[in-house]
Amino acid sequence: MKYIDEYRREADAQKFIAAIQRVVTRPWAIMEICGGQTHTLIKFGIDRLLPQQVTLVHGPGCPVCVTPLELIDRAIAIARRPEVIFTSFGDMLRVPGSRDDLLSVKARGGDVRMVYSPLDAVKLAQKNPERQVVFFAVGFETTAPGNAMAVWQAKQLGLQNFSILTSHVLVPPAMEAILGSPSNRVQGFLAAGHVCTVMGYWEYEPIATKYRVPIVVTGFEPLDLLQGIYMMLQQLEAGRAQVENQYTRAVKRAGNVPAQKLIAQVFEVTDRKWRGIGEIPRSGYRLREEFAAFDAEKRFDVGSLTAQESPLCIAGQILQGLKKPRDCSAFGTKCTPEHPLGAPMVSSEGACAAYFSYGRA
């Protein structure tokens, strides 16, 4: 596949690994923000090819993992309603709520459907005027343009039966929350390439300066990550703290301006709760007042919900990179992909699931 295969060549990968080995002189802890980066690192065995001194800390870039429990319970409550067609990306279907998950709701007769794009949900609303179509809009900034367009289109079409349940989270506030924590040991960040494709990377410059950490935006192919790690180590070894862009084929400093424009038209920044971490100010999106009609939280009154996390789940500490999955007493025993206690074990790129499936126990 063009623009994929070229970035998976063994000889080139080995060259980067050799260059990395030459440049490293002492231990470094680097965090990759995004679950997709974690996925590639483990799937291709890159973490095992790096020198021992380089520690990769897996970050909170799993929007599935950080969606608050209350919101999942709310989604389940809405999905149970007979008039609702509840649509979602595949990622969210097995995340455990307090008692249940969306797939079990489907098993008991709820109309829960997987879609590839939020526009598919809009189409469903058009095709089924007598039903209420709800889309679970979960994601980082990468998915926001799509969700914004879906809502915007629904308004254009005058749809009365489409709404979204929003769980949008933003990367820069999460980075600051991690860096601001007294137990932080992350010395450099590999920023998420597709988030930055949309938002650009100018927002990271003040963070790099304030906390004196180098930040490198990377793509998701093996060579992208290896080059990104190489660039990161060069900065760390030289004592630099700049924002650099490895993923130049997709990311520009300003990002995608038309996308940002529509996001700003439809959404506004708000405080958000991150599962396992707590509330981070101005770290999420919510629908603006003029689009409030499309807010599923307002449209469906599901009463008050008391969310109950498993007391054993240490997702929060894992998401902040403070602990590794094997530090958890339930890892691999009470908590497995078959019966997960928390989101990082369910999402295919939650750190726990990745560790479990790819044998990092």
Binding site: M1, I4, R8, R9, E10, A13, Q14, G35, G36, I42, K43, F44, G45, I46, R48, L49, C62, P63, V64, T87, F89, G90, D91, L93, R94, R113, M114, V115, Y116, D120, G139, T143, P222, T336, P337, E338, S347, S348, E349, F356, S357, Y358, G359
Partner: protein, 365 residues
């Protein structure tokens, strides 16, 4: 009811009739849909059997219409297998639930090293199923069975209430005959053996997904569902008892099947990602949907684990067959890490390939 009649005589269905050369023997104008009465065991059940099933599957054993079929087989090693088919949609590019049901059991028998002798077919039909659809499925089963040369000698039909079935569920069971010098079993895999596959992976699973609502592609990928008894026979001809394991990686994909074998035989398996055949379009689909092809279902594909000295011969035999043109050696069996499957990635890193947990779902994350 009116819709059913229109369908039966509409242009699209007429085209199908011409293609099959035969018209549905159940008078569509009277019975455009399956009703509960068709499963009642009375006149309408008889009508289905006598007018549709028996003439379609036409063989002496079936014609006696007894509770079971009595077959003559010289005293040999028998393989017996059963499988149920619940695929949705029932018609998909490259096949349908009928051909899948025949191929599936023929292949399970082939994986025992057996030549198929006879099949049974049990249908669970949903009330409201268009009769024309049933006819299409039955014809498809017969075409598949005839191509293999295996008779469908006995069967059963039930009808369930509307909403309690997915149109059609089919169970097929089969008996096959194994030649004396053949001994395939998952436990026979041993360190030093070589793992081969007869072609590209993940085709069937992606083909089904490509027509599922919510994930439609503009390109329709054809399922690779096919009977493997012949290519397996060629492999057994060249390597005989040096063929240790035969297995078709259906649900759960290559990864799950190899894990099962590794656990059964208490051996380790090492795969080489660069050697695993994968078609471009299937790859593209997996990339977009965030799916790992190692966990996607296959049909028309089988793994052969053979003694190292026979690997090249088996590869040549596969490649000489129409269903094995893209055959490849994809890995080996080792004594280390028993029960675990490892993969050497394209860039030279190693990772564990675990069993599938639940169902692999498309992801955006």
């Amino acid at each position: 009811m009116a819709d059913g009649i229109a369908e039966g005589q509409g242009g699209k269905k007429a085209g199908e009739q011409l293609a099959m050369g035969l018209q549905c023997p159940i008078p569509i104008s009277e019975y455009p849909h399956i009703t509960l009465a068709h499963g009642g065991g009375g006149r309408l059940t008889q009508m289905l059997i006598e007018k549709m099933f028996v003439p379609s599957f036409a063989n002496p054993a079936l014609q006696t219409l007894h509770d079971g079929a009595i077959l003559d087989a010289p005293s040999v090693h028998l393989a017996f297998s059963t499988d149920s088919f619940v695929v949705h949609p029932i018609f998909f590019p490259g096949g349908d639930i009928g051909s899948l049901a025949v191929h599936g059991t023929v292949n399970d028998l082939a994986m025992c090293g057996a030549r198929p002798l006879a099949l049974s077919s049990a249908l669970i039909l949903e009330e409201g199923l268009p009769m024309q659809d049933l006819w299409r499925v039955i014809q498809s089963m017969q075409n598949a069975a005839r191509a293999v040369g295996v008779p469908i000698v006995t069967g059963d039909t039930k009808v369930v209430d509307r909403g309690k079935g997915d149109g059609v569920f089919i169970n097929t069971a089969g008996i096959g005959v194994i030649s004396p010098n053949i001994r395939v079993a998952p436990t026979r895999a041993q360190p030093g053996d070589v793992v081969l596959i007869n072609g590209a992976i993940a085709v069937h699973g992606i083909a089904i997904m490509s027509v599922r609502e919510g994930l439609e592609f503009e390109t329709a990928l054809q399922s690779d569902s096919a009977p493997l008894h012949d290519i397996v026979a060629r492999v057994l001809d060249v390597a005989g008892e040096r063929v240790h394991v035969l297995r078709d990686p259906t649900r759960g994909g290559l990864a799950s099947t190899l894990n099962e074998i590794a656990a059964s035989a208490k051996v380790g398996i090492r795969l080489n990602e660069a050697q695993i055949p994968l078609d471009d379009a299937v790859r593209g689909a997996c990339e977009i949907l965030g799916l790992d092809p190692l966990y996607v279902a296959n049909e028309g594909k089988f793994l052969a684990i053979v003694a190292r000295e026979s690997a090249e011969q088996v590869l040549a035999a596969m490649r000489a067959h129409p269903l094995g043109k893209a055959a490849a050696i994809i890995g080996e069996v080792v004594a280390e890490h028993p029960g675990k499957v490892y993969l050497r990635s394209r860039i030279g890193g190693m990772r564990v390939v675990d069993m599938l947990s639940g169902e692999q779902l498309p992801r955006i994350c």
